[in-house]
Subunit: 432 residues, 2 copies
């Protein structure tokens, strides 16, 4: 066997530590699978004294020096965040190194530039671990489904919010209480904003949409609503109509208002989905992604979306792939943005709403409410009215309509005299 | 864009027809994704007059001539069966063509020789469509999980038997009745042997085990039981203990009787699995494969396991991959058999049994039965005894023990005076 392939590791936290351990433990297996031994050339960290488990001669604070070292072949980046990760990866690519990254924020913001740089340098840029942790998902989208036309990708891609919503459903707790529990158990970070407000899921949605539709999509293109406004009432209302509430990342082909079939919509928001939908039973910290393709039909991928070991598994899978490419002297498939589809605004995106209202229980109220939907061009799929004395509850599920028409309808309902309160508004996905 | 890549298609039945149609419909997309146009050079069929939908100038009965034509770059084989598929693929590989096949029987019998030939010729041999139809599964095993250690692969990989078992559970029908319904609806072939007796699943299990464990496994190495002996009683008993009956293909690492951790067991048989297991809700003609890996943890892949379009999606995904490799002048990763693990016999494989008995309801019977298990070194996990007058029902679920010990125990129970009848024996999988 010829010379080892030398790997530079950027970052040595939970994921980096697991990568380093697995690289050592599986050294012989990796060599057999790649055809060359893999050797760690160095580990860049901010504070070398915090890493007693790493051989001292490997540790360095000079990340830039490490990724441009002539003997380094491959760079693994598990620092996260935009800078210095971006500069380091561009430097590595510029120096002819293939790169494996787990950095969703960076890929969602600057994937096009990074891919362009990698393409120009003839090196690989792989990032399976950036979306849905251990679940093989990006490779299937980039490669297995490369001969098919994707219609939709719908995923539960954030374990923290999924845990919180699962607990709300199980216990009837409100968002605040469930978040406090998740924080205490370590499922939510001290500052949960990135998860709870949907930033993490939006970055992943951008990456998924870019690969699924061969169209550059950045995190800024993604419509985003988090789960902090989801109430115990929303969760209870969902159960009443045979649904459960999930935070979904949805990437789909949509026709524009002009009927042109050249658009995509990419969005992250909580939604009610039927309990019979394969995604409904994905609980706790698990992730799952449901894919609809023209020829393949419906597919689902399920597994652990986070954690040191699962994420390290995805990183090492990529490392084997780029190492094999290095050995065979080729680069793997890059990304393609050839389709250049239009990213539609949320206002133009067709969605369905569930709306629960407290109304006065007197003649004409349903007609007035129904008229408001019709006036906005929104067709009603189901209505349930429960009278209880002077007041009544109206539960309405609409057909698909442009999101702007639906939100305008709800805004008008809130102003109507006959409507005492709009008690729950949530989008509905996955209904036939 | 330079010259087209030329594809020879072998076979033009349901799958081949779908491949041909998608190649035409998606011609521009495929060109953008590959970087070269793909053109059909010819379609080899037995009876050209049966294919009015194919341009006459493409049709040929000379398959060997087609696959060795100098202008052909890639060969897609969707004939199925061992011969002439094997000779044709070897001829194609020998002539320097990369090959995409959907042929599970051939890959399960002769994968090692085909891979060796492809490796020697420096061409690709891809066969995603051979296992679980449209579900991206072989690429994730070969590539995404290449940095991990697989412990188990458990799949529902045959839609016909899954449909039959689903219907038995839903309607209480026996096997014969459910098979007749499946045949009438076109879910079962006129000769259902390959599906019902587990041959189809065993071929897929061999392919999965080979990739998962880097060890050559052929269909002949796979222990195989079909579903024709599954009775309505078995299905009812499963429901009583919170389980459902599925035909499973199971590939797993097992330690030998000597404790050496260098073995694999590969088997296909019906089994009870808990209704809470992710595989339990996979109904009808769907396939799903559950994977357990050291670092990644639990993963599941779900989708359509058969049908022209889904299978064609997998074929085209492979076609794009081998075409990209051709454009970049490289070959993708081959298979590796470096691990060379020992394939254990079924007798040595640890399994768990469910056993239901009709016994005389008198003192000492449970003790006698329990003694028989203990005498064979089998530990009992749960017992339920229901008396009804003179007779009683005993339902026993064991812990794991070598399959030989379990089957020997059951054989002895059948001979015991106190046991009036052994009413149901099925293995149990997926219990904690």
């Amino acid at each position: 066997m010829s010379d080892s392939l030398k790997v530079a590791l950027l970052g040595c936290g939970t994921v980096g530590g697991a990568v380093l351990r697995l690289l050592t433990e599986q050294s012989d297996d990796l060599a057999a699978r790649i055809g060359r031994r893999v050797e760690v050339a160095g580990v860049a960290v901010r504070r070398p004294d915090h890493h007693p488990e790493v051989p001292a001669e490997l540790l360095t604070t000079d990340a830039h020096g490490l990724v441009t070292r002539p003997d380094v072949d491959l760079v693994v980046e598990v620092i996260g965040g935009i800078e210095p990760a971006r500069s380091l990866l561009l430097a590595a690519i510029g120096a002819g190194k293939s790169v494996v990254s787990a950095n969703k924020a960076l890929l969602a913001e600057d994937g096009v530039a990074l891919h362009a740089a990698a393409g120009q340098a003839g090196v690989d840029l792989y990032y399976e671990a950036a979306v849905a942790g251990a679940i093989p998902l990006l490779r299937p989208l980039r490669e297995s489904l490369a001969g098919d036309q994707l219609r939709r990708v719908v995923g539960i891609v954030n374990g923290t919010t999924n845990y919180i919503l699962s607990r709300m459903a199980e216990t009837g707790a409100g968002f605040g209480e469930a978040l406090a529990e998740a924080t205490e158990l370590g499922y939510a970070e001290a500052d949960p904003t990135a998860d709870v407000d949907g930033f993490d899921a939006a970055a992943k949605a951008a990456i998924l949409a870019s690969l699924a539709f061969h169209t550059p999509v950045t995190a800024a293109d993604v419509y985003r609503e988090g789960i902090s406004a989801v109430s115990a009432t929303d969760v209870a209302r969902a159960a009443e109509i045979g649904c459960t509430v999930k935070l979904l990342a949805i990437c789909e082909r949509v026709a524009g208002a002009d009927g042109a079939d050249d658009g995509v919509a990419v969005r992250v928001h909580p939604a009610m989905i039927p309990t019979t939908h394969p995604l409904a039973s994905v609980g706790g910290a698990f992730n799952a992604v449901f894919v609809e393709a023209e020829a393949a039909g419906e597919l689902m991928f399920y597994g652990r979306g986070a954690g040191g070991e699962p994420t390290a598994s995805a990183v090492l899978g990529d490392l084997v792939a780029v190492a094999r490419n290095r050995v065979s002297g080729a680069a793997g498939p890059g990304t393609t943005g050839y389709a250049g589809l239009t990213v539609r605004s949320m206002a133009d995106t067709p969605t369905r709403y569930h709306v629960s209202l407290d109304v006065a229980d007197k003649p004409g109220v349903l007609a007035t409410v129904a008229h408001e939907f019709a006036a906005h061009g929104v067709s009603i799929a189901t209505v349930r009215q429960d009278g209880h004395g002077e007041a009544a509850t109206l539960v309405i599920v609409t057909h698909r309509a442009p999101d702007a028409a639906l939100s305008a309808t709800v805004a008008r309902l809130r102003e109507m005299d006959a409507v005492r309160a709009v008690t729950s508004v949530l989008r509905v996905e996955g209904l036939a």
